[in-house]
């Protein structure tokens, strides 16, 4: 699919909780194919201190009306500005970028894991995987009950399991402490996105249980389309750009100490 740079119209900007916003964007051209796990690179308007673009996973798509959404967690100046945008404003976006998750087969049973704002790409993934006929289970981790968002939307696609670091909702602990791993599930594959310590722990768990595992990485990026070579991760075939070779990697490709 060709990459493009477009000014997209903001249809909605919904504040989901204290620091998460859901931005729905509309293109006046056909969106084309977007694979779950792909991302966009956003130019933050009126933010002189935000010099480079900011990458965000595509959260969900609606191809029939040329819309997709991104989920933004406020961590700094750029994301704070995005939270302030109003419907009717425009956002300059480069998309679609990177390679998405692999497509599950219709007889497969898969586990989608999202930690923090790493749940972002999993909505699109859950819906498309279900449409393909796969059996989907969803495990979401957050710090506290207040940080858990979009649980109802996820539960449309399959059973949802929750963990919190403080035990305020679901299982107390990290996602890897959840009993879904010990139950007799025999998942064909795990798809995971979240902070580094979490993706490492999930990769280790998957290796231990001998389950195929794909992770989406969030390395710092300058361009997002393969020209600056700043976003590399060390793989079995040398340093590879997360923005073009990833952001999704099978953990077997990565040189992680797990």
């Amino acid at each position: 699919m060709d990459k493009k740079v477009c000014d997209l119209l903001i249809i909605r900007n919904i504040k989901l909780n204290h620091d998460n916003y859901l931005l729905e964007l509309e293109s006046d051209e056909l969106l084309g194919t977007i694979v779950p796990g792909q991302f966009v690179n956003v130019l933050v308007p009126d933010a002189p201190s935000t010099f480079l673009r900011r990458p965000f996973s595509i959260h969900e798509t609606n191809i029939s009306n040329n819309r997709f959404s991104i989920l933004v967690k406020v961590v700094g100046e750029g994301t704070r500005k995005l939270g302030l945008l109003q419907p009717g404003n425009h956002l300059n976006v480069i998309f679609p970028l990177g390679n998405g998750f692999s497509r599950p087969k219709n007889y497969e049973k898969i586990l989608l894991i999202g930690g923090g704002v790493g749940i972002a790409p999993m909505m699109h993934m859950a819906r498309e995987s279900k449409e393909l006929g796969a059996e989907i289970h969803i495990l979401l981790g957050a710090r506290t009950d207040k940080d858990h968002i979009l649980i109802e939307d996820f539960s449309k696609h399959g059973p949802v399991y929750l963990t919190t670091n403080d035990g305020s909702l679901g299982v107390h602990g990290f996602v890897t402490h959840h009993p879904v791993f010990s139950a007799d599930h025999h998942f064909n594959r795990i798809y995971c996105c979240g902070p580094d310590p979490m993706t490492h722990a999930v990769a280790a768990k998957a290796a231990q249980l001998d389950i195929d595992c794909e992770v989406s990485l969030e390395n710092m990026m300058a361009c997002g389309f393969g020209v600056c070579l700043c976003c590399v991760t060390s793989t079995t075939s040398g340093n590879q750009c997360v923005c073009t070779e990833g952001p999704v990697f099978n953990t077997k490709q990565l040189k992680w100490q797990i």
Partner: protein, 286 residues
Amino acid sequence: MTASGTFGNGVEFDDFIDINKLGGILLKGTTLHHREGNDYPRMAETPSGMLNAVGLQNKGAQYFCEHIYPKVARYNTKVIVNVNGSTIEEYIELTQQIAELEHIAAIELNISCPNVKEGGMAFGTSCPMAEQVTRAVRKVYPKTLIVKLSPNVTNIVEIARAVEAQGADSISLVNTFLGMAIHAESRRPVLSTITGGLSGPAIKPIALRMVWQVAQAVKVPVIGMGGIMNATDAIEFMIAGASAVQVGTANFIDPLITMKIIAGIEEYLNRHKMSSVNELIGSLQM
């Protein structure tokens, strides 16, 4: 033109722009042998700019000739290879291989990379070494030889004169400025290499001053760069004496920027009733 290391091998921009509309493209830094580059993190965003420490990651000369060259040879614009080395012998051997390639219009001899431990910038920060490498490469390269200078020197004019005397056909400047970023909370350097090269609008006034000084001191055409983000920036470099300009970091932020800059320069020329950019070059009014 586009600056080396910020435009990939051109093909990454095929989705966005018609590359043939550019005056030329500078391919990413190439070395004789494969290089993995530096460890992640290689990038830090800084006020009005960025630091990078890529460290010339590339697959080497043989891969370039076999796999990249066939793809870029089809472009109908000047395709220029950015040549790097850690010894004079490496520069020579790489240049000889590139000299064989019919559709490579010129080489840009990079004696200014701040991100590799051995060689690189060392050649560009000492007059005798800059002379030595330019002389050696000149002997084996009959086509256009551009030498790219490092701004990390006390007297850039001296180095520019030295490479001109050794036969450089053109001088491009500037490469990135050596800088660093620290993460205060953890008290750790942001880059894996501690220091890196600063680019973007943060460096523009210094780059502009250096281009102006060099353009006055040499007879060969000067190619200016450093923080060009729009047509006005490009025009300023030409007024300072640059015969052409390269756009670097701006490509990351707007992949269409080069087309907008070309249109903006045309608009300026029309508005000022100038028939060509030649009227602009070195036209600083004092």
